[in-house]
Symmetry: C2
């Protein structure tokens, strides 16, 4: 039952198809675009994530007998539309910003070219995937900046829907995190997994020393021991005594971290455990991480704030019809006219423009039908599905790995003030030509 993604869809997508089949407009050629009107949280840039998941989800967008019979029984659409849905295979083409790419307000991060009906039914699914995954990536990339090269692990599964948790681990990894606690993310997306023990393990044992001995016996001296169940100095003394100075790391999950980590480092050094690392995991966000930059922390584990987008839990992207053919075969650019939700009609091309110093200077969006990249520009849209067929290298662990590399290259192009954590304007202006 979970193999089909077809019912991850708002009812109105299908009722629109129903009415458009009746009057024939369902088959008009159409272009839909996905973009964000603004960057939530007044951030300086965003990171596109979810693209590879979306492409794979589109290949599973199929109405099988169980979906069709439910739709018919529920009276969602008429029998003629049930027949059309039964044959549904997305046969159009999708272009998009590469996964891991930097984006700004107005960036056309996804462009869908198909009949109206084929494209409109993908709206809910496309936005679900891109809005959640990009929200996490947008938070994660700031945490990576704040950590200044120290490794970060994603461990927020328990603070997100269980399916979202897997997507969050994936998006965080793309944005530069090094590992996840989530085993399904490890299996599905090839992301390194991490984790050793919780307070429960210490509490289960008759003494902290028993717990540490049991953990070291099974996981080795290189393991990470959690040292804040009872008294921290006592736990550290016990930890080094049990594991030896080759103890891998100690983990702190509570307390006033800036002060605490200094004391813990001093104690570890006094005990000869100079190589033992300190990892902290206490309700961190990008600001707390930045606040620890001068402290002897070796790595961070981040949970709640990461999987909930650190104050911006949805990226706020929309999926809009921007052009269609009329009955004469002419393309018509369209856009809603309401004052507070302005959209720009017509198929767009997008480019990142670079200055003489080598850094990006503008996000250029062209509505002209013919538009090539200038010498000082990089083209941003690449094919994701052509004639319904996924492009190679986008899906699966391969796509995740490529996206992670691309995010690193793409952020390296940005001017330095893009990496400020304060609220502000987008780091690049979006220029319409």
């Amino acid at each position: 039952m979970n193999d089909s993604t077809a019912l991850h869809t708002d009812r109105y997508e299908l009722t629109m198809v129903d009415a458009a089949i009746e009057d024939g407009t369902a088959y008009r050629d159409a272009v839909f675009e996905t973009f964000a009107r603004r960057l939530p949280g007044a951030r300086r840039y965003g990171i596109v994530a979810g693209t590879g998941r979306l492409v794979e989800s589109i290949t599973r967008f199929r109405f099988r007998d169980e979906e069709l019979s439910w739709l018919a029984d529920a009276g969602v659409v008429r029998p003629a539309t049930i027949d059309w849905l039964a044959d549904y295979r997305f046969s159009g083409s999708v272009w998009g910003y590469r996964e891991g790419e930097v984006y700004f307000p107005g960036s056309p991060v996804l462009v869908v070219e198909s009949s109206f009906a084929e494209g409109v039914v993908l709206e809910t699914l496309a936005l679900s995937v891109l809005n959640y995954d990009s929200a996490v990536a947008n938070a994660a990339t700031r945490m990576v900046t704040a950590a200044g090269g120290r490794p970060l692990a994603e461990m927020g599964s328990r603070r997100a829907h269980e399916g979202a948790a897997v997507a969050a681990a994936r998006a965080a990894y793309i944005a530069g995190f090094g590992a996840t606690s989530n085993l399904e993310a490890g299996r599905t997306w090839g992301i390194p997994t991490m984790g050793t023990a919780a307070h429960a393990f210490t509490l289960l044992h008759d003494s902290e020393e028993d717990a540490f001995r049991a953990q070291v016996a099974t996981l080795g001296a290189g393991t990470t021991l959690l040292v804040d169940t009872y008294d921290i100095p006592t736990a550290i003394e016990t930890a080094v005594r049990v594991a030896g100075p080759e103890l891998g790391a100690v983990r702190l999950d509570s307390g006033d971290l800036p002060t605490l980590v200094v004391e813990v480092r001093e104690q570890l050094d006094r005990l000869g455990a100079h190589g033992t690392r300190i990892t902290v995991t206490n309700d961190l966000d990008e600001y707390a991480i930045a606040g620890l930059s001068g402290s002897p922390v070796d790595s961070y584990g981040v949970g709640t704030s990461l999987v909930t987008g650190s104050g911006a839990p949805a990226a706020g992207m929309v999926y809009k019809l921007v052009a269609h053919r009329n009955d004469d075969g002419d393309w018509v650019s369209v856009a809603k006219a309401s004052v507070d939700k302005v959209s720009l009609g017509g198929r767009k091309r997008a480019y990142r423009r670079f200055g003489s110093h080598g850094h990006a200077t503008a996000e250029v969006v062209r509505t002209s039908a013919v538009a090539a990249a200038r010498d000082d520009e990089r083209e941003l849209l690449s094919p994701l599905l052509i004639g319904g067929e996924p492009v190679e290298g986008v899906m699966g662990p391969e796509g995740v790995s490529a996206a992670r590399s691309h995010r690193e290259r793409s952020t390296a192009e940005l001017p330095l003030d893009a990496f400020r954590l304060t609220r502000g304007e987008p780091a690049l202006p979006t220029v319409y030509e």
Copy 2:
């Protein structure tokens, strides 16, 4: 592959089992409890949601060959533990607050009794389900209060991970919403679905009138026409002309709603469409809904703020070992000692106490081994799984329906100041006896 929930688990749950199998503590009888330390957003009460989903997920917590071979290849646990996982069936018992029940800080919303190993591996899954679903229910119940009896529809699927979207629709329905746009939620949980058309449908057509005619031809005059694609007064005139005064509803998705809906109501009445309802869907949250209480709005559609918990996207519940037997067979109460994360050890019972006026006055949590409800108390923990077997009526659409009824009864017991939208203390004190 999606049939098993077993890898929706943090790696450290399995490494703890690995080490505990090695030293024998894995098989100690244990009690785990789930509770919230506080109500995020300084809200007055919370609503437990996700329980039915969790019970069903526990029945699918199975390590099959594909999970086991991945765990073995990834070196997560030793071969002896792989064997133990292969046989894993939760055989313990789970009690919990009924789904839809009101909860407060410290309420033991879930109590798991099993061996340490059987119970600890459920931590991540249990928290994922309860933290997300309850976050949505916590936001939804406030919106229901703010709407003061006017119907609410959930339409936030596009602003949540696609799997989370289904859970959000379910949680919102339990908390009193009347319908969802999400088709999968309709199929899986029996929730009424709604929705007619988006701006794209109007933009696809050569004129707004063409679009309205097509929609009415297929969906009937009782449909809801979206009237803010171009000029609203023109659209309303067209809508009533096309559908007649029996037009079901008009939808507004932009603009200054308090002013706008008055104008729209007046125009509809002038056109004789007295029965045509007005539904609004423009970035609403509980405060915007409350602000419209004096306006002639007939129903609300709520998206982003609902599925992201309206500022509190995770309920913040934790899953803690509170007691275990030692090798002598004696029960030992346990709790972490850190200053900022105090927990109370020992198995708890929970009761809601009522005053002479009939309203609830306290949340009573007793740690005594023998504890029955007093005459002025209602017992809050009921069985969810006994000896690994789900209790009847908890899962599926049946469970959702029961939870929705229970939420209504449970909130009706609260004192009136529980329903204030302002930040504040919990409406009931949690009393430990």
